[in-house]
Structure formats: structure tokens, C-alpha cells
């Protein structure tokens, strides 16, 4: 069964949707969507380094993205530049460095489109293992830091005053995001992973009135996007990553009808 590429893609997509749901909620709550983009852009650097030095692709992406994330946290503390400027700086400089390195790698046949938009044909059994084992670890860690992370999302100083360690859980959360990007880049592509994180989540927000409900709905939204998106991409022969994200967008638009029905200003 694992020989069938569509089946592998489905298993991979389910694994990713289970992780993007809860992580995406925190990304939206904490206004980190641009941050997700920055990590994803830095992933290109990771991909190219792994190709150049023949390293494990997921681990290299994870390492590079984590380093960029921690560098950002460090810069936020030590400079007075606003966060969005710092994000832009890291995002585009890592992208640019990655593209320059790509120029040196002309001897290697390299599918840049696959990295940008994802390629389900390339998902192999090792990738499935990376997604499901990595995903399980991400969810487990998130489960452990849920309470302090949520409290510091609601109010940073309140959480810190009452004995939680917001700085530490923020750093851990950032690393979880880097890990998610590392395991999902092959499937969704670096340009669209933030869409996977955010679109099902914003849909869920429209339909929920408490945090747990929002997490569950955003997982459901992600799963639906994967099912319908993969099926559609297979039927009408479109790229899988973009198709999944388009389905998520349609679900979001439908959720706007729900919000109007609930008469929410």
C-alpha cells in the first residue's frame, strides 16, 4: 500500500494537518504569521546546505530554521528594531543566501519548484516516518508546554508573575515551528506552509468560541483541505501543495457565512 504515491501523500498530509492545527492556532493567537514565513524562507537555505554537503534534509532544515528563530529572539532583545523589520531582514537575507548558494550548485540537478511548492511524488517512506515521528514529538512537547504557552499568549507578564516561564516556552514553541517546517516542506513547499498553518486556523476562529474548539476545528479544517486537495490535484492534475491551500481558502470563505449567521460584529 505504501507503494502507492497517492496513499503516501495522504498519510503524509494527515500527519501534517494534525500538527499544523494546534501550532497554527498559536501562530495566529500570537500574531506570528510573518514569523512562520521567515522560518519557511530560511528552510530553503537548509535544503541547499543539505544538498551541498549531502546531509539529512529534514535535520538540516530543522537546524537552520531553529538557528534563525533563536537568532531572531536574540535580536529582538538586543536591538531596537521592530519585529517586522527584523523578520524581513532574516527572511530575505536567508532566502538570498540560499539562492546564491544555489548558483554554486549548478552541477547538481535540483528541483527548486519542488522545494517552493511541495511535491507529493517525492514523498517516500522515510519522509512518512519523519512526518509521523517528528509530528508526534512536536505534539507531545506542545502538550507539555500548553498551559504556560497559552497563559503567556493571553498575557505575558501575568504568566511570568505567576511563576511560569514565558521566555522559555516561547523559545520551545519557536523550535517546534521550525521542526514542523522541516517535516512538511517536501509535501507542502516552503511558500505555502504558512498558509497551511494559518488558513484552517482562521476558518476555525470564525466558527469557535473557546480555545480547544478552535484547535479541534482547525485540525478538521486541515484534514479536509488535505483530503479534498489531494483528490482534486490528482483528478485535475494540479500541484498538490497549492491545491490543498486553495481548498483551505474555500473552507475559510464558507466559514464567513457561518460567522454572518452568528451575527458577529
Amino acid at each position: 500500500m505504501f507503494d502507492d504515491f497517492l496513499f503516501r501523500a495522504l498519510i503524509a498530509g494527515i500527519g501534517i494537518a494534525l500538527v499544523t492545527g494546534p501550532l497554527g492556532c498559536f501562530v495566529v493567537w500570537r500574531r506570528l504569521s510573518f514569523f512562520g514565513d521567515t522560518l519557511a524562507h530560511s528552510a530553503l537555505l537548509g535544503v541547499l546546505l543539505s544538498v551541498a554537503f549531502d546531509l539529512n534534509i529534514s535535520l538540516t532544515i530543522f537546524t537552520v530554521s531553529s538557528l534563525i528563530a533563536l537568532l531572531l529572539l536574540r535580536l529582538q532583545k538586543t536591538t531596537n528594531l521592530p519585529s517586522d523589520a527584523l523578520l524581513g531582514l532574516l527572511s530575505h537575507s536567508s532566502l538570498a543566501v540560499g539562492l546564491v548558494i544555489l548558483g554554486f550548485l549548478s552541477f547538481i540537478r535540483f528541483d527548486i519548484m519542488g522545494v517552493l511548492f511541495g511535491d507529493i511524488l517525492s514523498v517516500n517512506v522515510n519522509d512518512l516516518l519523519a512526518i509521523w515521528i517528528g509530528g508526534a514529538i512536536i505534539l507531545l512537547v506542545l502538550w507539555f508546554i500548553w498551559k504556560p504557552l497559552f497563559a503567556s499568549t493571553v498575557n505575558y507578564e501575568l504568566a511570568e508573575a505567576e511563576g511560569m516561564n514565558p521566555e522559555r516556552v516561547n523559545a520551545i514553541f519557536t523550535i517546534l515551528l521550525a521542526a514542523l517546517i522541516a517535516i512538511s516542506i517536501k509535501m507542502v513547499g516552503l511558500l505555502l506552509i504558512t498558509g497551511m498553518l494559518i488558513i484552517p486556523t482562521t476558518m476555525a476562529r470564525n466558527l469557535s468560541n473557546n480555545p480547544k474548539q478552535m484547535v479541534i476545528l482547525s485540525i478538521i479544517g486541515g484534514l479536509l483541505s488535505v483530503f479534498i486537495g489531494l483528490y482534486t490535484s490528482f483528478e485535475i492534475n494540479t500541484s498538490s501543495g497549492p491545491t490543498i491551500v486553495v481548498v483551505a481558502l474555500i473552507l475559510f470563505i464558507l466559514s464567513l457565512i457561518g460567522i454572518r449567521k452568528r451575527n458577529y460584529g
Binding site: 495566529v28 493567537w29 500574531r31 498551559k147 497559552f150 497563559a151 499568549t153 493571553v154 498575557n155 507578564e157 501575568l158 504568566a159 511570568e160 508573575a161 505567576e162 511563576g163 511560569m164 482562521t202 476562529r205 469557535s208 468560541n209 473557546n210 480555545p211 474548539q213 478552535m214
Partner: protein
Amino acid sequence: MNNNPNVLVKISNAGIHKNGKWLVKDVNLEIHRGKIVTIIGPNGSGKSTTAKIALGLFKRIEGSVERFTKKISYVPQKVLIDWTLPVRVMDFMVLTEDLEPQEINDALNLTGVDHLISRNLRDLSGGEFQRVLLARAIAKKPELLVLDEPVQGVDFAGEVALYGLIKKISETLNCGILLISHDLHVVMSATDYVVCLNGHVCCSGTPVDVARDKHYKELFGEKSSQLLSIYEHDHDHVHTADGDIVKDNV
């Protein structure tokens, strides 16, 4: 370090120096179990900053602060809930500590908002929200309670009731309270110790001492010290010849 088991927080010569300016300096303050310390002072005088020093929210401070408890509740001056974050009152109540439904209900009941338990935080009025903030803080049964203008936006009748509640909590839970308030008349009636702040500690002491202090009169005007006379009638303590207070002769 600390011999008095009643001391919960001890701030010694503390200050914050930021961008070439002192936000607050030379603060000395102790918070004791079962006592209410109130900080008063004009806008920008460093009241909230001092509360945050007490809570250990600053990484680098001049001087020192020691805390002798971990059971702390904090009501910040401002809590903004983003629209993207759907939080009901019942979710908010267990933000930093898991509580039994009964404990949640009791605390909300005390602040008069138990009927709002399944409402979304964003749908509450300013006064209702403050009551929920206070309920959450006391539901944890803290040993130290830091309240930064806890009754802002609450209607007048509610304000009096909530200050009464705060006083009662300090007695029933035997917890130390650091209160920041603008309501001088309340400060003068329901407080054990007053710190008058204006970038540094202008004067401090019992409400009676502070009201007689010339710094206090300069800051708040002559009239404000007459507030005291209204309350001297209600005082439940006796003064010794030199103005010291012998507490609690109820």
C-alpha cells in the same frame, strides 16, 4: 536572609534605569502576610513599575528584591484580548492553575460575575472584565496578591464592595496585598501601609502618617489630607502619644 516569616516580599533600594532615565528609584518596601500595602502617586510616578519590580518582572534592576512565596496572583493594569483568541471566562479562570468548578464559581460569585462564566472575555464590559480579573486572582488562593488598579471602570457601588472584598480577602486568606489605587478615600480607609510615589518614595507609613506628611499634601493638595478626617471617625485603632498606631482594638 529573612527572619520574619510574615514577610512575603522585600524590596531594598530598588530602581529601574532605562534609556538614561530613572523610571523609579530608591524604593524600599515590604509586603507582609495579611496586610495591605497601597501605592499612590500621580501618573508616571512609577506605581506599576514598582509592582512589577515586586513581581520580579524586570531582569535587571538596581538594588534587590526578594520574594518568599511562589503562590502569587497578579491583576495587571491592562489585559488586552486579541480577537483571534476566543477565551471564555471559565477558560480564563484556569489560566495559570487548574481549579475545581466549585472554586471557580465561588470566586466569580464573590466579585458578582458568576452569571458570566460562559461568556467570551471580549464581550464583557470594562467593569465586568475587571471583576473577572479579580476573581481569577483570588480563586487561586494566593499568598501574595498584586493588584494594579483593580477596580478601574467599575461602577461606584461596585467599587466600594470590591475594596471591601479585597480587605476581607487579606484577612481570610491571610495573604499580603500590594494595591495600586487612585482612590485616595479608599486608600485611607482600607489600607495598613501607604507608599506615596513620585519617581521615588516621597513618604510612606500608615495612612494617618502619610496624610499628615507635607510631601503628600504637595502631591495631592491640601484637600486630600482632609479626607483623613472623614475616616478618623471609623478608625478601629488607638494612637500613642507620638502618633504611632496601636492596631486593632475592635
